[in-house]
């Protein structure tokens, strides 16, 4: 049965019960089988290596289990059928796309809208687990001494919180909104590589579970940075961190290629670069960061895993390696990574602001160059993490300059927002409140970064709670607030139900106040000399720590309000949303709710930019479904 060109492909699974088709449960079974095989093979290999057999920790076997488990999982999900059949010259099975009901969310579906929602719920789970870890951290810090938890356990909680937030939650905007909205916003019916799109999602929960499995191997002590030689001493839980981060990095590269190709090649006719929604621009800029940054991380993690399993010494100074090598590789990825967290947030809030200001995005080109400028500069700043590390100290002025320069393109984003608000007709909806809070938080987060870019200041603040407060203001105050802005804004389109506005506002105000109340004192704690990642601290710091802990519990409580809103609105109230409840010009709002399977009956023709509010002459954003072209479609 060879494939002829143009021959329609069809699903060979259609007649089977959904339980027997490839789905997440068969994936779990496959993962378990693969894991056992991998552990067995790794054990066979490992017992012939004397450095492994000397201890009861066999890293070769752990890595083997994870690697084969991943293959088994993907096989169980049906991911391997297509490439294998193509390799054997067989007719490929149809990708599951048109399926309705709950099963489409439990399979490797290739509809970008299904994948967007899978991302939303999948990442949401990890966001809450990682948030729970934060609650445990703050519980431990309620008193200076003795620690509540065993020190090793505490470090693992810190590591799980940080790693889970950076690995899984980093794509909390890019995953759900990037995948759901980019094709809709550019007038496409799908992403460029739908199977790769499904793969990137399904790697995410797998890497999350692998990361959590660290605790059954004794946890890992390194936090999210994974610095050797500490990482080389660590229990086998470190292997879980390495492998999970490796999978995330692979997913990042694949996501980046997919998004870039989609945005560059699949825009509808008339969607010029000048009309591209700012959110799509932010996805493009983020893709550049992921494509160039993540491979460097993969290289660093590979070396680290070889140091742990194969007795190499990339990072062992006594044997000719250097711990600096990992620090450089890690932060060459790590600093762009923090902009992978920040740029999608910029995109979301700049997308939402014009809608509720009822004005065009002010300085569109400035905003776009801001996003691209941040992306470019972020590759030139990584050594500001290493100002006191002992790397060539004469390089520091250069990194000081580049780091401070990055505030210029970031300022463009603020300028665009401030200009958009000028003489606007502002409506304080829940998405707008979250967007505005984003600017307040990011202002504090961004400006506190200036202290850390200046070498003399950084000497006093490096490695302290000041740094911690700074990046929580940019990531939690930026990314997470932008995520909630986007969620309240787009969820009515994504699942066709309205979220309760009063609960939404309650959620916003509790979250905004408790967030600031949690993290502002941490700046002071850092200035008073409290280092990061400690489980005991000086007694005179207790009041501020208790204040931060109680506020953090309130912050956790605000998340429960959000959950209550979600359950109430989606399970009980179930008020259907209008197809364009915010009167937005965005192309994604011009399609019906729920969005049809192929998005558009006919590829739309884009007639104008998405932000032409207040211009009576402006044509509608696009011609959908074969209507006549309006006479005003000038440019």
């Amino acid at each position: 049965m060879t494939l002829r060109p143009g021959e329609p492909v069809e699903s060979v699974h259609a007649s089977r019960s959904p339980w027997l088709r490839p789905n997440v449960f068969t994936g779990v079974v496959g993962a378990a089988i693969g894991f056992i095989i991998g552990v067995w093979i790794g054990h066979r290999v490992g017992t012939h290596l004397d450095w492994v057999s000397a201890i009861d920790q066999n890293d070769v076997s752990v890595f083997g289990g994870y690697a084969f488990g991943t293959i088994g999982y993907l096989a169980g999900l049906g991911m391997l059928e297509y490439p294998l059949r193509r390799m054997l010259g067989r007719r490929p099975v149809n990708v599951i796309k048109g399926e309705r009901g709950i099963w489409r969310y439990l399979t490797a579906n290739t509809d970008h809208k299904v994948i967007g929602l899978q991302y939303l719920w999948g990442i949401g789970v990890f966001f809450f687990i990682a948030g729970l870890n934060a609650m445990l951290i703050r519980t431990n810090l309620l008193r200076p001494s003795p620690p509540v938890f065993s020190p090793g356990q505490y470090l693992t909680i810190v590591g799980l919180h940080g790693s889970m937030m950076v690995m899984m939650v980093s794509s909390i905007i890019l995953g759900p909104f990037g995948h759901y909205l980019v094709p809709l916003m550019i007038g496409a019916r799908r992403m460029a590589f739908p199977r790769i799109e499904a793969l990137t999602f399904w790697l995410t929960p797998l890497s999350g579970v692998i990361l959590m499995s660290a605790i059954s191997y004794g946890g890992f002590p390194t936090g999210w940075t994974g610095y050797p030689p500490l990482a080389l001493q660590a229990n086998a839980g470190m292997d879980a961190y390495i492998f999970a981060f490796f999978l995330v990095a692979v997913a990042m590269v694949l996501n980046a290629i997919n998004l870039m190709v989609t945005i560059i090649t699949m825009r509808a006719p008339g969607l010029t670069w000048n009309r591209l929604p700012i959110f799509v621009w932010s996805m493009l800029a983020t893709s550049v960061l992921m494509l160039l940054g993540a491979p460097v991380l993969i290289a660093g993690l590979l070396m680290e895993s070889l140091d742990r399993t194969a007795s190499t010494s990339f990072f062992i100074a006594a044997n000719g390696g250097s711990p600096f090598l990992f620090e450089n590789l890690f932060w060459f990825f790590g600093h762009p990574e923090v902009y992978v967290l920040a740029l999608p947030g910029f995109g979301v809030v700049l997308e939402i602001l014009p809608v509720f200001a009822r004005k065009p995005l002010w300085g569109y080109r400035v905003a776009v160059s801001g996003l691209l400028g941040v992306a470019l500069l972020s590759f030139m700043v990584w050594q500001h993490h290493l100002f006191v590390s002992g790397i060539n100290s004469n390089l520091r002025p250069f990194y000081m300059l580049t780091t401070e320069l990055i505030s210029v393109p970031t300022g463009f984003v603020f300028l665009a927002a401030m200009g958009t608000l000028w003489r606007a007709r502002i409506r304080y909806t829940v998405p707008m409140l979250f967007s505005l809070a984003f600017f307040f938080n990011f202002l504090i987060g961004g400006l506190s970064g200036v202290f850390l870019s200046d070498v003399p200041s950084d000497v006093s603040l490096h490695g302290s709670y000041f740094v911690m407060a700074h990046f929580h203001y940019t990531i939690m105050g930026g990314l997470i607030f932008a995520f909630f802005a986007g969620l309240y804004y787009w969820l009515p389109k994504m699942n066709g139900l309205e979220l309760d506005e009063r609960l939404g506002k309650l959620h916003f105000w509790t979250m905004f106040i408790s967030f600031n109340s949690t993290f502002l004192p941490l700046f002071a704690l850092g200035m008073m000399g409290m280092p990061r990642r400690v489980n005991t601290y000086a007694p005179h710091l207790q009041f501020l720590n208790d204040w931060a802990s109680v506020s953090a519990f309130a912050l956790g409580g605000s998340m429960l309000i959000f959950l209550a809103n979600l359950v109430w609105s989606l399970a009980f109230a179930r008020r259907p949303a209008a197809s364009n409840p915010w009167q937005s010009r965005g192309l994604e709002w011009q399609v019906p709710t729920p969005v049809p399977l192929e998005n558009f009956d006919e590829v739309p023709t884009i007639l104008a930019g998405p932000y032409e509010y207040g211009d009576a002459q402006a044509p509608p954003v696009a011609r959908l479904g074969g209507g006549p072209i309006p006479a005003t479609a000038g440019d």
């Binding site: 020190p151 505490y154 006594a318 002010w362 002992g390 100290s393 000028w422 000497v459 032409e612």
Partner: protein
């Protein structure tokens, strides 16, 4: 701050009042930073290096204050003035931008950034006591040479305690850190195992301890005091407990203290390896 509107002038808006509010708040803010916050800015003024860090922290806070207040005042003004009440959706004027304002913003932010970077670079390479480097780790060699007669102190970092070696005093190694006041100290920070970071808060010294690396920083303690020493880089399970206090004492007290240490440690000095800037203890191969 004047932005154009589609309707011509902005005489309908209280822009002058907003500008005055910004100016007043900025002046108050800057004065509060310079005179209210400055004495509390980390890490103090007990050494030239610490003082310089305090100046940098204060200067940056003072420079950022008008910017922060300006953005916040603008947001408060815009969010209250341009609010649309009721459920009716009305479009605003279709303003797409203003190239003059954009250019001004770009040039302004670039200028501020260049000033900050130039100031930081200047502060890094020159300090009041000619001890460049601001107390941070400077790699194997100091940016500027330390004065003759400096005290060399090696910080030997290990899991999970800092110990200190005084090569000019027979290579004696101690578990406590004592420094004489008024004499430049050159810290040579190295590690025997994983990455640590030697942070002497009141001295304004923070130096990463990297195995196989001699990371140097200099400082001149002026005041007789005890200071906090903490590890500032995650180094394993007891990182949170890796802290202690050091003591700056008078020169005569220091001479007595070091002599006492040499006597007390006499049995163990013979066992110590010869002084070296870095040590490569056997990493204990994987076979144990």
């Amino acid at each position: 701050m004047s932005l154009p509107s589609s309707t011509g002038g902005n005489s309908d808006l209280p822009l002058r009042r907003v500008a005055v509010i910004w100016l007043v708040l900025s002046v108050i803010g800057v004065l509060a930073v310079l005179f209210g916050l400055e004495p509390h800015m980390p890490p103090g003024a007990d050494t030239a290096q610490a003082h310089e860090q305090r100046i940098a922290n204060t200067a940056i806070a003072a420079i950022l204050m008008p910017i922060t207040i300006g953005v916040l005042v603008y947001f408060v003004f815009a969010l209250t003035t341009f609010r649309q009440r009721g459920d009716v959706v009305v479009d605003g004027p279709p303003i797409h931008g203003d190239s003059r304002l954009q250019a001004t913003w770009v040039l302004g932010t670039v200028a501020i950034v260049l000033v900050l970077a130039a100031y930081g670079t200047y502060a890094l390479f020159t300090t009041e006591s000619n001890a460049a480097g601001s107390g941070g780790g400077q790699g194997p060699t100091l940016i500027s040479s330390a004065p003759a007669g400096s005290l060399q102190v090696q910080v030997v970092s290990q899991q999970w305690e800092f110990t200190y070696r005084y090569p000019q005093y027979g290579g004696v190694e101690t578990t406590e850190l004592a420094l004489p006041a008024g004499r430049t100290v050159v810290f040579h920070v190295t590690s025997l195992d994983v990455i640590h970071s030697f942070w002497a808060y009141q001295l304004g010294v923070k130096v990463d301890a990297v195995p196989g690396t001699d990371n140097v920083a200099d400082v001149t303690p002026k005041k007789v005091e005890s200071f906090t020493v903490r590890c500032a880089e995650l180094c394993g399970v007891w990182h949170g407990a890796m802290s202690g206090t050091g003591q700056v004492m008078s020169a005569s007290d220091f001479a007595a203290w070091i002599a006492q240490q040499q006597t007390a440690a006499a049995p163990v000095i013979k066992a110590l390896p010869p002084y070296h800037t870095i040590y490569y203890p056997d990493p204990v191969g994987r076979a144990g």
